[in-house]
Amino acid sequence: MIDVVGFLISWLTFLGIYGILAISLNFESGTSGVTNFGKAFFYGLGAYIGASLTVYLFLLLNNIDVSKVSPFDVEGIVYLGQFATKNPLLNIGLFILSLLLAFIVAGIVGYLLSYPIIRVGPAFVGFTLLSTGELFRIFVLHYKPLGESKGIMSIPHPFAWIPNPTVRTALYLAVVLGFLALTYFVFNRIYNSPLGRTLRAVRDDEVAALCLGKHVPKLKATVLFIGSGFAGIAGVLMAFYLGSISPTYDMIGPPITFNVWAMIILGGMGNLTGSILGAIIFTFLDRLLIFVTPNLGITVFSPDYIRGFLVGFLIVAVLLFRPQGILKEGKIETLAWKVYEEEVKGEKSG
């Protein structure tokens, strides 16, 4: 018997978080032409800001001397666990504060990074951001106030005070999906606006956009601000969901960036719905295969290798079959367009 509800909740939470990352990346790279290979950097930055802030403040506001009891040692962790269920307002308040702060800080860092990125030229934007991400990760690995190699643990869940775990995770899923919807809405509005049109122009031909008087560096900086901000939010959501973050290569390093890139290309660059579709395929397939591979009865090699192999194979296969992704780029529908459609098309049929 399979716990379908549990499966859906856990899968959809991951989907939501990766969906936010995918939408923001698609907007940066697909629509605006800023090939962002540092998604993991802003994601990790947001996660660390949210988590460390919460953990420190939580202990402080519960009258524990943080200079004596570090939130990264067993004592602090036990306290965090004990107090997590006592004060619902505190949990939720810190959660909201983390989200806000992560958005702002990650956004500002993205904005600031846009200058050196533009300076190195379009071919190197990606790798510069990737290196910055690794620099951040290695720095955190050594930095004691952020938990160095221990990472941050026992992050108080915003709904820890709810005794029923299914309700708790379902509620959190609702929050995550809410943010996914918000992300989609925000980027959709920007996409279907004169700003969106300008960004596509910048992507397609920067020189032409410049000739038309568009302030390209500022546009790119704005794009990175918003995109990174949402990546920071995704980081906070994941940190609170898992309850712990570690500065390991796979958690806040290049693999996250690569996975999100695969999702947006599968789903279709330049199409926001496509990013969600790509995220769905990616996250679902991995979990689905867990049901299948151990039962295949293969003994000559570990059958779970097929799972990883198929993920890679799927990427290649979909791309070969449909290089532009599953959903192609839609046209921009600003308010003016809608008016046009009504008037002109209305005329034709009338």
Partner: protein, 429 residues
């Protein structure tokens, strides 16, 4: 900027095809798990003859690092897990239980998110006990899910002190490194080292071990200089260089290496090439023990030159362990390396706890596990847990790399007894 016009029909068809494929995949997946992993009660009536009694199948989940940085250990663990399940089934049937345990082994790629995904999906299949994950960072990430959903997690190798939390669902069948650091410090001091460079991985395992070691060594009257190196690289020649210059500048008389097997083997291979490093003593943690790279002639000769000694968790002269090693080699063709015994016992404990609990309730299984472990003595010794769910009692032994007829091999040459290292034989004449 090529937009295909007039292809909307095609894209709709394509989306439909993808959705159908996904749904078909889901159906196959559920069917497969239902087909190959039979439900709990499966009455079988063979044609003719005596009616055979139905065997209940219970699944134990495993999330092992079969790819990624810990894959060298993970691959051997896979064999140990299979052997453990076989042995468990034999024993359980000998006791008259009509039960068959089945292992569901997944790869988590030494990655945190995959470990979470594995644990979640295993739990959603109805599995209540999961052995693994290997890395402390992974255990931390699965903890909140395990605690909320009452899934018993038994990790055979995570030693982070920050996971020693009572009243949760995380159990570890391996002792804390605090104990081992004490033994290593005693070993180094007893062998005459007064100023050592602690060359360790810059992750939680290495940092915690190095901290414990420095404290213990200082208590004995020595001085430890800390030198972390980044884990997960493909080669450590540059780090070994820095180590050599540090040894020279600090005029250290020994190096303490705290590493896993692949980086340990790599480091020792490079150290063998350095004159500076070949003229000081070397003391190792348990990580590199058992690694095939340390049995090569180059490292073997190096070990003899520097009189290399290491510590590892070991119940001295445990006949069960000797038998276990032999069985593993004979039946599965692999040598037992570090934590294999902890993994084997974890599986045994899991099986007996499930039987003792008699139900599929996570809480009941957890309580049963604590009770079973109290009375169980396995290949890793006495498995009793402390209040935080970690292995309470652990003895340590001293190992060396000795020359045998066929080359080089590992040999246990001493024990830690009443605060002193007692050698049972002279490893390096």
């Amino acid at each position: 900027m090529t937009q295909q016009t007039g292809k909307s029909m095609f894209s709709v068809q394509f989306i439909a095809a993808v959705l159908v494929a996904l749904i078909a995949g889901v159906a196959i997946g559920f069917a497969a798990s239902g087909l190959f992993a039979p439900p709990q009660q499966q009455p079988q009536q063979p044609a003719g003859g005596q009616p055979s009694v139905s065997k209940k199948v219970i699944q134990i989940g495993f999330t092992l690092p079969l790819t990624g940085e810990l894959s060298s250990i993970g691959k051997i663990w896979e064999k140990v897990a299979q052997m453990a399940i076989e042995d468990l089934n034999k024993e359980v049937q000998a006791y008259g239980f009509n039960v068959e345990f089945k292992a569901v082994i997944l790869d988590d790629g030494t990655s945190v998110e995959k470990a979470v995904s594995n644990v979640q999906t295993l739990a959603q299949q109805g599995i209540k006990v999961i052995i693994g994950p290997a890395a402390s960072s992974q255990v931390k990430a699965v903890k909140s899910f395990a605690d909320s959903n009452q899934i018993v997690i038994i990790s055979p190798s995570s030693t982070a002190p920050t996971l020693a939390i009572p009243n949760d669902f995380i159990f570890r069948t391996v002792g804390s490194d605090a104990g081992q650091a004490k033994v290593l410090a005693a070993l180094a001091f007893q062998e005459g080292a007064r100023k050592v460079i602690v060359f360790h991985r810059n992750d939680e395992y290495g940092n915690a071990f190095a901290d414990f070691f420095a404290k213990e060594f200082a208590q004995l009257g020595g001085k430890a200089v800390d030198m972390p190196y980044q884990a997960g690289l493909s080669d450590y020649a540059a780090e070994v260089n820095s180590l050599a210059s540090k040894v020279q500048s600090e005029k250290a008389d020994a190096v303490v290496l705290i590493a896993f097997d692949t980086d340990g083997g790599n480091i020792l291979s490079h150290a063998a090439e350095s004159n500076v490093l070949s003229s000081v003593r070397w003391f190792l943690s348990e990580g590199p023990h058992g690694a095939a790279e340390l049995k090569t002639p180059a490292v073997g000769a190096f070990a003899a030159k520097v009189k290399l000694l290491g510590t590892r968790p070991l119940f001295v002269a445990n006949p069960l362990y000797e038998q276990f090693k032999q069985n593993l080699k004979q039946r599965f063709g692999v040598d037992a390396t570090v934590f294999c015994d902890n993994l084997y016992d974890a599986v045994m404990l899991a099986g007996w706890a499930i039987l003792r609990a008699g139900s599929n309730d996570g809480n009941a299984i957890r309580n049963a596990l604590v009770e079973v472990a109290k009375h169980y003595y396995g290949v890793s010794g006495w498995t009793i847990f402390d209040s935080a769910g970690d292995k309470a009692n652990q003895d340590y032994g001293v190992w060396a790399i000795v020359k045998t007829g066929a080359g080089y091999d590992f040999k246990d040459v001493g024990v830690f007894e009443r605060g002193q290292i007692v050698f049972t034989e002279e490893p390096y004449p």
